[in-house]
Symmetry: C2
Subunit: 343 residues, 2 copies
DNA sequence: TTGTATGCGTTATCAA
DNA sequence: TTGATAACGCATACAA
């Protein structure tokens, strides 16, 4: 007879539980995953044995045997950008009471990096995949299509989902912000943009559409940089813009960080906001409503996007894809003092 | 003869590679993990076979067989707090080119939640554990001590590490900020604190120590709340503090969000900064140097803490624990306009 | 509703 | 340096 020497740390296994409960191992397995398929009697015996032994299922063994890991793969372009931090929080909060774990990775706004990470994730056979944006590389898109699990593209909506989508239209957001500035009386409205990732580009497109429709567009009003966004950069971009166009009477900022930089620079240079220059941001961070003057911004529903993405994926995992494969959570213009020129 | 019906998705396995390369499976395994133990010859053959088949090792099978997952478990109290977001970014960046993955979880500043998540993580037999702070519950601490893997406590330093530590002294940070305010001429210095987690408490302790040493302490100067920190809250706490002590001539804020709220409120109420009220923050977010007036703050090295934590854990995994089990990365006082009363 | 036999892809053990 | 064999802990397929 062979002596069983445990290689593992000696943690109780499903077999130990089965022995103690006087049932077959598979019954324990079932009792844990599909309790309704096991008789009330055995279920209780098994639960007692589980408690007594302190049994905890082994994720790895489970994943190996079922060829499916209880993992949500999540790809975001940045971990520190508050916008994505909130999306990620929504995802974690939604999943914290489920058996699913989160596998998070940072693409650093690189399509190639995204591709590489996707391949890595796929090798784990995740239960679902959540990716940011709709501009995957061709190979990445193919990987997603063949992923064999629900896929949710977040932050944006677009015409051709890999599987599901939840987000909003950045172009419309940019347009709404710009139209608001025009309506409030601005004529020489600058666009300030950092990073200029695809979503930033579309906000710019919205700005341009609104400006052209009003006959106000002038390419010299646009100031962008590939450099990552920051409050400091907002100040610098604004200085550049003002040097180019001294008659500037409004700015639409790609995001709130930039807007804050503009606001501070206006204070420093004693430029009246909104009288001389009106400011509109994007995303509506908490601080915009406290700023002085408070700053108009486009409110986006980041946390909710995270929640919805998980909800949609869950439905799909359950077999019933949601009614609408593309959900547009929209945005809201929050009018504040920084664009209120009525006085 | 039995027909092998693959249950998995038909991905190539190590056996396929072995067959193609004309070697044993275990040799392939070794060639991948410890190349130096396989002859140059076979190594190349195997590499060719791997490339040809597009073989990717299965994490789950590997973890199951070796009873060790290539996973770093990371526990932080918040995902959106910029401070932790940067720590997490440091961790991810350090690990992105390693075989290790990151398993991140959010404790929501709850010791019990941390305990629960720890148990969850431990069931995966992680390669290392990174936890925030030094105030684990007794049971959590025991779990960490028995984890059987390197453990790094981050953000703070303290006398009794579970295993390793990297951070700085929040008490000294609070003291340095307060002493600076005193030296710059303030006498009625308020403390504004949100959340009041253990690290906030220690900053308060530092404030109190400095104030008492100068004979300036007055409990009514302290305004705190368990509510999570935000810019809005900074404004509200400041209003409360000012209502209590109209003679306030300086505030030390628990963190930069609060400080920003104070700054905006000063603008709104036309209170001169720093002449009437001086402001000092904590953490030194990017925006503090751009604010108008620029805001004095305690610079902390969040990203570096993440990097160091991984570096220490890596050393320990390699078998050679680092020289110093406790690394104090310190902090720096950044003097700016908001506390410069010389004019 | 419950159990038996077997496979999942990899690594540890031990022998050659 | 290389390989055969037996775990690792659990779930699938199928039978009872």
């Amino acid at each position: 007879m062979k002596l069983r020497t445990r290689r593992g740390g000696g943690r109780p296994t499903i077999a130990d539980v089965a022995r103690l409960a006087g049932v077959g191992a598979i019954t324990v397995s079932r009792a844990l995953r599909e309790p309704e398929r096991v008789s009330e009697n055995l279920r209780q015996q098994i639960q007692r044995a589980v408690d007594e032994l302190g049994y905890v299922p082994d994720h790895n063994a489970r994943a190996l045997a079922s060829a499916r890991a209880e993992v949500f793969g999540v790809l975001v372009p940045s971990l520190t950008n508050n916008v994505f931090a909130e999306v990620v929080r929504g995802i974690y909060d939604s999943l914290s009471d489920s058996p699913f774990r989160v596998q998070l990775a940072n693409t650093h706004y690189s399509g190639l990096e995204e591709e590489r990470l996707l391949q890595l994730f796929l090798s784990q056979r995740p239960a679902a995949l959540i990716v940011s944006g709709i501009d995957q590389t061709a190979s990445a898109r193919k990987l997603l299509e063949d992923a064999g699990c629900p896929v949710v593209q977040i932050m944006e909506t677009g015409p051709d989902p890999v599987d599901m989508m939840v987000g909003f239209s950045h172009l419309e957001g940019g347009r709404a912000a710009t139209e608001h500035l025009i309506e409030s009386g601005c004529r020489r409205i600058g666009f300030l943009g950092a990073r200029m990732d695809p979503r930033s580009q579309r906000r710019l497109a919205g700005y341009r559409a609104a400006m052209e429709a009003a006959g106000l567009f002038d390419p010299r009003l646009v100031t962008t940089t590939p450099v990552p966004s920051s409050v400091t950069l907002g100040r610098d971009l604004f200085r550049d813009a003002l040097a180019k166009i001294p008659s500037l009477d409004g700015v639409f900022c790609n995001n709130d960080d930039l807007a804050l930089g503009v606001l501070f620079e206006c204070h420093r240079a004693a430029i009246a906001v909104p009288q001389t220059i009106s400011i509109c941001g994007f995303n509506d961070l908490d601080m915009m409503q406290v700023a002085f003057p408070s700053v108009t911004s486009i409110r986006t529903h980041r946390y909710e996007i995270g929640r919805q993405a998980v909800a949609m994926a869950m439905e799909a995992i359950g077999g019933s894809w949601p009614q609408d494969r593309v959900i547009d959570l929209g945005f809201e213009l929050r009018r504040r003092e920084s664009t209120d020129r009525r006085h």
